[in-house]
């Protein structure tokens, strides 16, 4: 666990995602954080739920291990809420677009909901 942690804000998230830094990203989450992903395979009535920092670390490690580009835009912050969009591309040209809503608690991400769509 990190003792000295970076403040979680739009700029920090942008840097971690665009730099594909899974470790840094994971450090932004509270121990009991919940990430919900809604996409083609995980419909709104049954979103994929990733609970706890360990599982969230694996999730980000998997995503950051991909040789793809990420671009984070439109970061909006309002108190303990944060929102951003993310445009990603695989080397073969496949594009993914995601929008994320985050709730912060004590300076850490407590809840995050990601809605994403892929080229297919």
């Amino acid at each position: 666990m990190l003792t000295k942690t970076q403040a979680v804000d739009g700029a920090a998230i942008k840097k971690a995602i665009e730099g594909r830094d899974g470790k840094l990203l994971s450090s932004f989450y509270a121990d009991d954080a919940l990430v919900r992903v809604i996409d083609r395979n995980n419909p709104p009535s049954k979103p994929r739920e990733i609970r706890g920092r360990a599982a969230i670390s694996t999730f980000w490690d998997d995503i950051c291990s991909r040789a793809m580009t990420h671009k984070v835009d439109t970061t909006i912050a309002d108190g303990d809420s944060l929102a951003f969009t993310q445009a990603c591309a695989y080397p073969d040209g496949t594009k993914v677009f995601a929008a994320a809503m985050l709730e912060l608690k004590n300076g850490r991400i407590a809840r995050q909901t990601v809605v994403q769509a892929w080229d297919e």
């Binding site: 992903v37 996409d39 083609r40 395979n41 049954k46 999730f59 490690d61 998997d62 995503i63 291990s65 991909r66 040789a67 793809m68 695989y90 080397p91 073969d92 496949t94 993914v96 994403q116 892929w118 297919e120």
Partner: protein, 517 residues
Amino acid sequence: MRPIETRYALSGDVRIAYQVVGQGSFDLVFVPGFISNLDLHWEDEGYSRLLKRLSAFSRLILFDKRGTGLSDRVDAHHLPSLETRMDDVRAVMDAAGSGRAALLGASEGAPMAMLFAATYPERTRALALYGGYAHFHKWVMPPERLEAFIEAAETAWGTGATLPNFAPGRVDDAHFAQWWARFERLSASPTAAAALARMNAEIDVRDVLPAISAPTLLIHRRNDARVDPDASRYLARKIPNAKLVEVPGRDHPIWTGDVDRVADVIEEFLTGERAVTEVDRVLAALLVTRIYDTARMGDRMWSERSQRFQEIWRQQVGRHGGRLAGTQGEMMMSRFDGPARAIRCAAALREAAQGIGVASAQGAHVGEIELRGPPVGLTARVTMQLASHAGRGDILASRLIADLAVGSGLHFADAGRITLDDLDEPLALVQAMSEQHLEPDCRARTRTTEPAVLTARESEVVSLIADGKSNAAIAAELRLSEHTVKRHVANILLKLDLPSRAAAAAFSVRHTGPDGP
């Protein structure tokens, strides 16, 4: 949805065809066995089912190994080493932008995946090995059998002749056998197939097993027809962080047999979560009807009667509230909402078959099937196997059918158990009986239980019952109407004061004299 794109990765100067499908948060590379063809896989129901299952929780990366399918061929005189072939996995991962992936190696793909995991531990998230082995000659075939296999493959390649070596359980499935022949032709020429077989025969990765650090899952079918299950038991002992799951079945290719079972195990291992039960499955009773003993009929007669019987089948299924679920060779499948309807329809079909001079044999089973499309899963396969096992005029059903039909007025007799490849436990069977409604509810107490009281005709009927024959079969044999046979059976039971035809059969066996009962 746009069609799945096939792309080519460059491995050295060899082009490796690959596809990427699915939107999961981690990558899964499927390393196929002997031969493959990326385009053709999607045309087989089992194969596309497997790929759909895997790509539902991962970003699935598929490729054809060098020497097969859509990838470049190899020089038969300078066969590449397993290391070179393994590096094709890395090349495909690089092209697909995958830094780290779980690998699923099936059959010959397993040793390649093991070698990859030992060589690139930082790029191996986890390893799932299905029907794999570390040493070809020890667990697949010794050198002399390999030569025979290659010789046979070179002369009969492209006809599907290798199918019995891989999936003996699908040999009678004409549709699949045809697909398999195309699979051979579109995956390799005879020369390429022989080259692949020789490359695979070189496989010996026993030394690298202790170097594998990724969490490893081993899956093997208990009666695998191609690769000895001991091969995976050996891997389980030698790979440090391995877990072995043995599943029932004998068909070797990962896309045959109970595909869902294998996919469930893989999904749970890779995601840590059990596969979510599918919502688009419903409980249904399936009935498979076939004409018994077609070999005795001439071709023309067979075709006429079979056509006529199919017409009757369509009518009767509709009349009993069922739905036609397609034909496969001589097997006609229908589905019903309840088991009693299925059995009543079966009884009607048995009688109708008799009317046009053929005998039927039928199987009925109940289980979950896919809501859409023709039933192709476990329930369908079990029902077809019951129909294959059913004798002349028989309606062979799983005990479940009888249990669910309680209160329907239908009668069933115990018919033992059957062991099927797909099932862990033997399946309890019953025979559907149709003559029971002619039995009196209360029998007069008669003390006459000696066979002498039976007429000559009744004695004949009893001994045929003891042979396990149905009324329809007995009627055919004695050239009587089925109705008359039913009367005889009812009279026999009454005279002997016996509760069922099974009891009559037992009685007959006990009282057999030199000339029968």
